[in-house]
Symmetry: C2
């Protein structure tokens, strides 16, 4: 196996990870809401990529987790401020989401 | 912008996402414990890759989130059973971790 090395920070890139707790019966609405947000955010400056993960276990804590790469924290903050000003009524009742910006510190 | 398409499942690959809530003062211990687990798991059959994300905000809910790709759920379950039988005393008191296996349903 190849040696593992800690990741050197070579840019201002950040990774948004957003965990979604979704009440039963709200799965389709949560996905549609996420897609609507993604369709907006991918048009914004600094967007790089996104991946949405679904938990096949209906009793899992998080039904969806989004992992998205942005050029910088500032780009992400601008984009989400634009989104909040543009997309109205995109919240799904009862969904608990916990977005934060992370740095990759190990990659193997 | 390129069109977005839902991801077709072309293998049994799964993504382990593990969120870690870490009490203040336990950050170094939590990282060392994760590294020890990773060093074991990367030797196991079916391991593909892993990335550890750190939240620079000390008040963020999750201090660390691991995103790892495995060839199949069965490989992952075997590997973690081997790990539990091999690595003793690798738990860090007070750390709450929530591992689950996910499928990528959207990628853009």
């Amino acid at each position: 196996t190849k040696p593992t090395t800690a990741v050197q920070q070579t840019s201002n890139q950040v990774v948004l990870i957003n965990t979604f707790e979704v009440p039963k019966g709200k799965e389709q609405a949560a996905l549609a809401s996420w897609q609507k947000s993604r369709d907006f955010l991918k048009t914004q400056d600094g967007y790089i990529s996104t991946r949405l993960h679904r938990n096949p276990n209906p009793n899992g804590k998080f039904h969806l987790i989004n992992v998205a790469v942005w050029r910088s924290a500032e780009d992400f903050k601008k984009a989400t401020a634009n989104m909040r000003a543009t997309l109205k009524d995109n919240a799904v009742e009862g969904v608990v989401f916990t977005p934060d910006l992370y740095q990759v510190i190990e990659s193997d």
